[in-house]
Symmetry: C2
Subunit: 355 residues, 2 copies
């Protein structure tokens, strides 16, 4: 396998020396880009966009044409796995993802099957292959999945939730049932990420969007432990090249030491954490990815530059930082702000990487 | 002023010796109680319930008739202040609070006036007076307010928000405008809490429900600092009796040391924090209030008892713990669970308080 011409991201994730801090943006292919909205309109809706490798490739490439980003990330949804399990993913305008068949009955839970990535999720693997071809080794491609707990939140609630009442009721009333779902999800995510790696993903990220809703006591048992199992089953190399992994628990700032300890190469941070303090806490164990408040992109370019500078200064000199937002980019973001961000990261970070 | 017959809560908040750990529940007068729903139906709607001292007194007393709680908390809404500023608070069924006139224009922001608690918020002070009379010194009455930042979130967004886009845009684009709102709010909250204290509130709590949405860098400047100003202006004694204060930033677990440093007597904790670790971090500075995940109340009584025991054990022996949930009690909670919680706290905590 050929290394990407720009492999800064891969080196930073592995805490190797780089010339500048690489940057990509969570949800970088998205509604803040007019060309994305045009493709989406042609596709019909969001799910058709995800399920068609041509469209998925097109939108994956769009932000790279605009900004000198250091990585592409597979365009897909975090809920492809439960959709492939037959829960019936759909999107109602302005309401986010929903499932036609939320998982509540024990019988349905016991009947859950692990999807075969090569057939049930073939469209994702086809997209990975096609994106890699189109990328032509300019920058690496990041594959991803939702965490077992985050998938379970949507599967049990049937939609996004502000209080996670149904899944928490299951957690405290029938923990063994939730463990069964999480076990299936962990196996499914492992197979799914390994298939993405075989199809060409050069790094993988696990999005634990809702792990931060758990109590400090429940988090290790119901979210972190399952991510650890995934990492243990992940292909760490493909064609002789190391595949770095990133784990991101939104709202997990209190638990960074534990997250850094499960065998991932890098830990994602939201904006509630001071990245310098995070670095002192995790030491040399992992790289850190983050962590600008996405709403700083609503400020003037000068402010964006100042705030980028603060994060770079807080991390300080040395290896192991991948710049990103602390959450997905807002659909209302002016694209010029993303340009200002990327430029600021590339320019201001060089002094921190001089030998 | 006569001390309450049961002043366990006040002593615990001041880190004085107690015989058992006192307990109250955020939102203890609420929709999980059928008698509350009956009173609310008689009142017509939620706001009429808040604005009528007879009804407010009635619902404040209801949970005390059911459970041997160690405190009453004034029944009111956190948004009474912006309502009194003329923003037009209303509630649309199932959608939470909203304002008819969200604050977006500089001219409106500059024209904001601090309400006079004695006239504009007279109904709250009347409720405090009447509740104290009805309580007849059995347990202390807690007064409260939203934090300046949390009030500003609703004022600027016009409603609850999942991303706080408008207020964060203001924060990063026009910080001086947001500071103006926060300055007015801090003055208003100070006057409001002092008026509650004069009317009879025996402890006060500041609910910083949305401070946790801020970045680690913005939190001290836009939320914590204003709570510190309130505390500096608060009557710390009334009729020769000390009035303890509690500050609760939901999602603020990373910042406990800073919160403990602003002059409050106690710090509220949500369930993402291990209370024993929190105690080690804040040392002898403050008491701690919390922090059971409210959804543990959906489990069997035996599980509730076990989980209560874990929190008590984690805090350990000694003074300065007030038991509570880590967030308001869910409207779907079986009342028997609240009974099991209170009994478990009272019974299991005694060994931790033996001399």
């Amino acid at each position: 396998m050929t290394k990407p011409k720009n492999d800064t991201l891969l080196r930073a994730l592995l805490r190797q020396p780089v010339e500048y801090t690489p940057v990509w943006l969570m949800r970088q292919a998205g509604r803040y880009l007019s060309e994305y909205n045009e493709t989406r309109a042609r596709a019909g809706d969001f799910l058709s966009l995800c399920k068609n490798p041509d469209f998925a490739t097109e939108v994956t490439m769009q932000p790279l044409a605009r900004f000198p980003l250091d990585a592409a990330i597979l365009f897909s949804d975090i809920l492809t796995i439960p959709d492939a399990m037959g829960l019936g993913l759909y999107f109602s305008e302005g309401e986010g993802p929903r499932f036609k068949h939320p998982l509540r009955e024990e019988q349905e839970i016991r009947a859950l099957k692990i999807p075969d990535p090569g057939s049930d999720l073939r469209y994702v693997m086809d997209a990975v292959t096609q994106i890699r071809k189109t990328l032509d080794n300019q920058v690496p491609l990041i594959g991803f999945s939702g965490s077992p707990f985050t998938l379970a939140c949507y599967m049990v609630e049937g939609r996004g939730s502000s209080d996670f009442r149904h899944i928490k009721t299951m957690l405290y009333q029938r923990p063994e049932l939730l463990h069964h779902i999480l076990d299936i999800n962990a196996q499914a995510v492992t197979a799914y990420l390994n298939a993405q790696i075989e199809a060409g993903a050069q790094a993988v990220m696990i999005f634990d969007t809702w792990g931060g809703a758990l109590s400090h006591a429940a988090y290790p048992e119901f979210s972190l432990g399952y991510m650890q199992r995934i990492l243990a089953g992940l292909k760490r190399e493909h064609d002789g090249v190391r595949i770095p992994s990133v784990v991101f628990t939104k709202g997990g700032g209190l638990w960074l030491e534990k997250i850094a300890d499960i065998g991932c190469d890098a830990v994602g941070l939201d904006w509630t954490v001071d990245i310098g303090e995070a670095r002192r806490r995790v030491g040399d164990k992992v790289a850190l990815q983050g962590n600008l408040d996405p709403f700083i992109l609503f400020a003037e370019p000068e402010t964006i530059t100042v705030e980028v500078g603060k994060i770079l200064a807080s991390f300080g000199s040395g290896n192991g930082h991948v710049f990103n937002l602390g959450h997905g980019i807002s659909q209302f973001t002016p694209p010029e702000s993303a340009a200002a961000l990327v430029e600021a990261v590339h320019t201001l970070s060089r002094p921190y990487h001089q030998a």
